[in-house]
Symmetry: C2
Subunit: 140 residues, 2 copies
């Protein structure tokens, strides 16, 4: 895939080698906007790379984290999920269907501003809103 160029370059800037597994895992992680878990990415990638291991998926996700291409979201009682949307945003996470959607809203930036006002030097952000999404609420 020719669109793998940016991934390959990003990996190489920090000295990481662009292996087929890393490219496939990165493609999956950076493309999937449903906040997948490592295991879900693993299952996706296995289609094209049947021999890939879950360990490699975890290792690659750590690399992507280091490259600031994904954020890891940990939850109580659940696997961690990975979000490739790196601009300030809200995660709307439905308690019923478990789906998560990213919403860009000025409220996100106001959170950053509020922290800055408190003389806090902001480097990262996580805004989760939990509840019931429109679709699930409808068929309550």
């Amino acid at each position: 895939m020719d669109n793998d160029r940016p991934i390959i370059n990003a990996l190489r800037t920090k000295g990481y080698r662009a292996t087929a597994q890393r490219i496939a895992i990165s493609r999956s992680a950076l493309t999937n906007r449903a906040h997948p878990s490592a295991r879900q990415i693993y299952n996706e990638v296995r289609g094209a790379h049947p021999t890939v291991s879950l360990a490699t998926v975890y290792k690659t996700l750590q690399v992507l984290r280091e490259l600031n291409l994904v954020q890891e979201l940990s939850f109580p009682d659940e696997e961690a999920r990975f979000d490739p949307y790196m601009r300030p945003h809200l995660n709307l996470i439905c308690q019923r269907c478990r789906k998560a959607i990213d919403v860009e809203d000025k409220a996100a930036r106001e959170v950053v501003n509020a922290a800055s006002k408190a003389r806090f030097n902001v480097t990262g952000l996580r805004i989760d809103v939990y509840g019931i999404c429109q679709k699930c609420g409808r068929r309550a």
Copy 2:
């Protein structure tokens, strides 16, 4: 302690028994504003209850979660931390000293409003701002 009355009542409303351990653990968890981990609470409580077990601490924290008295915050590569501040707020979490402080700011409510606007029925909220606190920044 006479101020344990509210804790005792809260436990009983849902049919939980007010044992000495639960009261001590609850007191610690609801009082400590540093977002302690289960182990830190355990260590605090051991002063007064040397025989308490970590398992009981975990179990009690789940009870407090069910009673909506604390929120559990999971992190990658770290133990979960517990926050008894249940109104909408920002967690400013210092990457250097690991301290976390709660900040009430209207930005928190704007996040809720933004979610509501997206037809999302809000039941919970977590806003983490990561960075370097004033104290740590000063001695950079």
